[in-house]
């Protein structure tokens, strides 16, 4: 945890003095994380680890560079999971990348996407300030809804540092349904 705090200070200093930056975690979405000329890549994958997890409250707080797979494994030990199916976990995607790119899988159709499960965020803004929005509990209505602002921001509004999610208990049973149907001519219209 102390390493993470030092990491945050390094990031804050980089924001105060450095050039234009584009933060990235594991780099699993290069179309979003590859910097253009004059922009420096800012690696935040070192900000990794869960900070607070209370299974009875169904909430968890972790650093933004935490790999989704590692996060999911910690939840699975308590029979819980992130219902929006974060993509790219096998490739090493991080929680920050999932939020910044707003990537959800097929279960999002049933349970909701990233925006429905992110309840709190800490990020470093363009002046190097550590900004906090939302909270670590599900019922939180204080202040501007900054977590929503950061969802899909693709590293253009701040460097994500810490994220809080609500999680669900794992389902007792699951089933996969495949439906094969003929395609109608009218359904192929643009």
């Amino acid at each position: 945890m102390s390493l993470a705090i030092e990491g945050v200070e390094v990031l804050r200093e980089a924001m105060r003095q450095g050039p234009r930056v584009l933060p990235h975690g594991a780099g699993t979405k290069p179309a979003l994380s590859t910097p253009s000329d004059g922009t420096a890549p800012l690696d935040v994958s070192g900000l990794s680890g869960s900070l607070e997890y209370d299974p009875s409250e169904l909430t968890v707080t972790a650093l933004a560079g935490t790999p989704v797979a590692e996060f999911a494994a910690a939840l699975a030990e308590h029979g819980q999971y992130l219902p929006f199916d974060p993509l790219g976990s096998a490739a090493g995607a991080t929680l920050g990348g999932v939020v910044a790119a707003e990537t959800s899988g097929p279960n999002a159709f049933r349970h909701g996407g990233v925006r429905d499960f992110l309840i709190g965020v800490r990020f470093i803004d363009g002046t190097g300030k550590l900004v906090r929005g939302g909270g670590k509990v599900v019922k939180n209505a204080a202040g501007i809804d900054l977590p929503k602002l950061m969802i899909g921001s693709a590293g253009r509004l701040g460097v994500l540092v810490q994220l809080s999610f609500k999680v669900f208990p794992w389902l007792d049973a699951t089933a996969t349904v495949a439906v094969c149907r003929r395609t109608h001519a009218w359904s192929r219209s643009p």
């Binding site: 584009l22 803004d125 363009g126 002046t127 900004v131 602002l149 701040g158 349904v177 009218w186």
Partner: protein, 101 residues
């Protein structure tokens, strides 16, 4: 969509899709699915009575809503996202340390 067809929005679940497809095919109706097959948009033939669809849905423990009225284009509005962009960036990235949104 076939001409004169009525549009019916049906809340559905995956395990009812096959039954709904069979019922619609028997009536010559068609459907599109959205939200991971949680919603079906049925084009019900204009020459078929709606109570027939109601009965078919009821047999599947489903319910639908008939959409009526003419479709109208959305009124032009200022781009809210664009209007918000400048004050948000001015507040949290005044020195342009990040790429433009």
């Amino acid at each position: 969509m076939p001409p004169h067809a009525r549009v019916v929005k049906v809340a559905v679940i995956a395990r009812r899709v096959a039954g709904l497809e069979a019922a619609l095919a028997a009536a010559g109706a068609r459907a599109r699915y959205s939200l991971g097959a949680n919603v079906a948009w049925v084009a019900w033939p204009g020459d078929r009575p709606l109570p027939q669809l109601h009965a078919a849905l009821e047999a599947l423990e489903l319910a639908g809503m008939v959409l009526t009225g003419a479709a109208r284009p959305r009124p032009a509005r200022p781009n809210e996202r664009r209007c918000l962009r400048h004050p948000v960036r001015a507040a949290i990235d005044p020195h342009a340390r990040f790429l433009k949104v």
